[in-house]
């Protein structure tokens, strides 16, 4: 199926696959689809990686994930380690470990159960109880009841990752068009026809929707509507201090407001996020951070890292993330339209998955199948069974 793409003119082009949406999912798919020999057109309304992909916390975390998602997360983790070889830069990926800390016995029990349950998936966690947790991680609060450590997880710079994939895809021969907003998608006998607000017209037999929080509208146009709520994460960063905290630290609490996390970057700043989320204006493409939620994050961040109290917050930001009702993404083939694929709605936990999603979607686009189990993420779960 690998016929060369026709040259892109100002108004029209044809390729094997059109990817709508240049977040980390779309950009990574474009890169890996080129590796598989497909010709690719990636259409990004604004700039590659500008929304959720560029504004998230930067967690490269597997522990705590929905267990059936671990094969995908494991594949992604392998790619994270190979990024310099694959795309020519490491996007500040630090495999410095990820630790989840619990203060309440019921939360500790969950960490212990998860550490057992994830073993068959090849994820080995180290558990530290009470005093041992603080001996292992002296920066933590002495009251920590349990710490679950995932030594091979870590963090990376979200502002760099998706654009780096976009540039690598372009170098590999993909057509990456920024500032190109899709206005209409139709399906002719053999091709998808994608029109843009600038009057361009692109055609391809395969189409991937990876437009994040805006994915719902595009899926609905193909008769596959689903509830997708846009939310704005509460991110922030402190002034730089000497680099001492190597693992990402997350507060393992099932109380939404307590669920904060932090990481220190090598240049010294501590990036933090979590807790309550802000509101989004999808039409205006603007998310609004509630600064009072930043204030509400402070005691919980100090709960896990007492020295946080000695710092100053220098900046906050937010982005636009799409959340499904079951907190799982939409990923895989359409249930109704042949040649149509989805990868959106990653519910605030897509960054780690990005490279793996790209590789897995490229499998699907090139061969129609993949070894990564995707059934739990099928859009079919949202579709009403046809009336009898």
């Amino acid at each position: 199926m690998s016929h060369p793409a026709q040259p892109v003119t100002r108004t029209t082009a044809r390729a094997d696959v059109i990817i709508v949406g240049g977040g980390i999912m779309g950009a990574a798919t474009a890169f890996f689809a080129r590796q598989q020999g497909l010709s690719v057109i990636l259409l990004e309304r604004d700039l590659v990686g500008q929304y959720a992909s560029g504004t998230n916390f930067g967690n490269v975390r597997r522990q705590g994930r929905f267990l059936p998602q671990l094969p995908l997360a494991n594949r992604s983790r392998t790619i994270w380690g190979d990024l310099p070889k694959l795309i020519g830069e490491n996007v500040e990926f630090l495999p410095s470990g990820h630790v989840r800390v619990a203060f309440k016995p019921e939360d500790s029990a969950r960490l212990e159960k998860y550490a057992q349950d994830c073993k068959p998936y090849g994820l080995d966690l180290e558990l530290y109880s009470g005093r041992k947790a603080v001996e292992r991680f002296p920066m933590l609060d002495p009251d920590v009841d349990c710490a679950s450590f995932s030594p091979l997880d870590g963090h990376a710079n979200p502002r760099l990752a998706a654009p780096a994939f976009g540039r690598a895809a372009r170098r590999a021969g993909a057509t990456v068009l920024e500032g190109t907003e899709v206005s209409n998608i139709t399906r002719s006998a053999e091709d998808f026809v994608v029109e843009t607000t600038k009057g361009q017209r692109f055609t391809a037999p395969l189409l991937q929707i990876s437009s994040g929080a805006w994915g719902q509208k595009m899926a609905a146009a193909f008769g596959e509507d689903l509830p997708l709520t846009p939310k704005a994460p509460q991110m922030g960063v402190t002034e730089p201090v000497p680099y001492r905290i190597h693992p990402v630290i997350g507060y393992a609490s099932w109380v939404e407001e307590e669920g904060v996390y932090l990481r220190q970057v090598e240049r010294g700043n501590i990036v933090f996020g979590g807790g309550l989320r802000g509101t989004v204006d999808l039409a205006a493409k603007r998310a609004y951070l509630n600064p009072l939620n930043t204030v509400r994050q402070m005691p919980h961040l100090q709960r896990i890292l007492p020295d946080f109290a000695r710092l100053r917050v220098i900046r906050t930001w937010t982005g636009i993330e799409g959340y499904t009702d079951d907190d799982l993404p939409v990923m895989g083939p359409s249930a109704r339209v042949p040649g149509l694929y989805y990868a959106f709605g990653f519910c605030g936990h897509g960054f780690q998955l990005g490279p793996g999603v790209g590789a897995t979607m490229a499998d699907l686009l090139a061969t129609g199948k993949t070894e990564i189990p995707l059934a739990p993420f099928s859009i079919a779960r949202f579709l009403k069974p046809p009336a009898l």
Partner: protein, 461 residues
């Protein structure tokens, strides 16, 4: 019905006159002041136990300074004055403040933003050395602490503050080694068309220059900074002098142990941005400014700008603008404001607008220097981002505007949030991409406007 809550942010000339106008109308405004004492930057006060007379502190502006301080003292019983208080964020109809690690959310009916301005910085190699200060910083050292930035300071930049600060140092007994001005005599003559609208201020500036010259301080026009030279001794790195090119392109060197540097002023506009006010590009000053009408009303209902925060018109202009914005605010809230009071203030501001244009024309921001800065020059000092990094963002990384460049190479991402480096960074980006400066955009503001202690308490909502 309760009286409406009007918050005045800032207690310099604009904020003080705004508060006074509101008090006269029977309101009790909240006045937020980042400083310990009222006065703003220009009429900043010395610490309580310092006793230098006003004449010595404020020079020709002593009378205005004293009048403003007195007016404020009379207001105190009638306002809710909150010194050392930072307005750092906005949510819904609430302004978030921080004082002594305590956060408060104040619900307001109207806001008058009088947050003033800071020095506009054009980096040059060596500008981050110890011993280099902004002109404003050099002035604060003198006014608030009776300290000089060095025993042999060089003043470099452009604009009226350059000569005022050099003159103040001279009067304080610290003779400047030189005043190096990037503006040429030719542009200053062009600027006269606007400057002549305020003959008294113009004469004052000429007097500062004459006093400096008479005392043997060399004044150079049309210079191009090359670098601030360093040397290392037991105390570490220090300033050794300034290398520059004269108007004929010849290399020159001035020995000195400190540098005061500034290229006009830039408005503090972050609050207006958080309040979602419309901004427009001002071609005269090459800055993005909140859109206001002549009274200072912004695009957002109940939000007003006054003073240098809305465009640089200086201290007297700020006093008029503060009073006018407050009258407009009162009128918008349904108070009976005599039309002639507003007309009088609008008229008083007219020559100041012309004067401001004259200043920007006569002492222009030397934006062309940005293009010629060596790659290794630090531009964003918080994040140690160089001109070369910004050019890489513009080129290899294909950042079309400043927020994208910030995402890629951290320019404007640090503690000051681009307040110092933002304008120069945009010029470098625009030059590298050969596009008009307005296409480079402006760095989006975010809470907290200034660093906020993590150990904060007490949300009142």
């Amino acid at each position: 019905m309760d009286k409406p809550v009007v918050i005045v942010v800032g207690a310099g000339p604009a904020g003080t006159r705004a508060a006074q106008t509101l008090v006269h109308a029977g309101l009790r405004p909240v006045v937020l002041d980042e400083n310990r004492q009222q006065g703003g930057q220009i009429y900043r006060r010395q610490p309580e136990n310092f006793v230098r007379p006003a004449k010595k502190l404020y020079g020709a502006a002593a009378r205005s300074a004293t009048a403003l301080h007195t007016a404020f003292a009379e207001l105190l019983p009638h306002i809710d004055y909150r010194p050392e208080t930072l307005a750092w964020g906005v949510v819904d109809q609430q302004l978030l403040t921080e004082h002594a690690q305590r956060v408060e959310a104040i619900t307001y009916d109207a806001l008058i933003i009088a947050t003033g301005a800071t020095d506009r910085i054009m980096p040059c190699p060596g500008w981050t050395l110890p011993g280099v200060f902004t002109l404003g910083g050099a002035q604060i050292a003198l006014k608030a602490q009776a300290c000089a930035i060095g025993s042999a300071p060089v003043f470099m930049g452009t604009g009226p503050l350059l000569y005022l600060v050099a003159w103040q140092y001279l009067k304080a007994g610290v003779k400047p080694c030189a005043v190096l001005d990037t503006s040429s005599l030719k542009t200053r003559i062009k600027g006269l068309r606007g400057l002549r609208h305020r003959p008294a201020i113009l004469a004052q500036g000429v007097r500062y220059m004459a006093d400096l010259m008479r005392s043997g301080v060399p004044l150079h026009a049309g210079i191009q900074p090359v670098r601030i030279e360093e040397h290392e001794d037991d105390d570490g790195l220090r300033v050794r002098g300034v290398t520059w090119r004269n108007s004929r392109g010849q290399l020159r060197h001035t020995v000195g142990d400190a540098v005061g540097m500034g290229y006009g002023l830039r408005s503090e506009t972050q609050l207006a941005d958080l309040l979602k006010c419309d901004f427009a590009f001002d071609a005269t000053s090459r800055q993005w400014l909140p859109v206001t009408d002549v009274d200072g009303a912004t695009s957002q209902q109940g939000i007003y700008m006054a003073g240098d925060g809305a465009g640089i018109r200086g201290a007297d202009g700020a006093e008029y603008a503060g009073a006018l914005a407050a009258l407009r605010c009162l009128a918008d809230m349904g108070h009976n404001v005599p039309a002639q009071n507003m007309t009088r203030l609008r008229k008083a501001l007219e020559p100041m607008n012309a004067f401001r244009h004259g200043l920007e024309t006569g002492f222009p921001w030397p934006w062309r220097n940005a293009a010629s800065l060596p790659d290794e020059t630090v531009v964003c000092r918080c994040e140690n981002v160089t001109a070369g990094d910004i050019r890489r963002a513009a080129g290899a990384l294909d950042a079309p505007e400043v927020n994208r460049a910030k995402a890629f190479v951290r320019v404007g991402m640090g503690r000051c949030q681009g307040r110092m480096c933002g304008l120069a960074g945009a010029e470098i980006l625009a030059a590298a991409r050969q596009m008009p400066i307005e296409q480079a955009g402006r760095i989006r503001s975010a809470a907290p406007i200034k660093p906020l202690p993590a150990k904060i308490r007490g949300i009142m909502i």
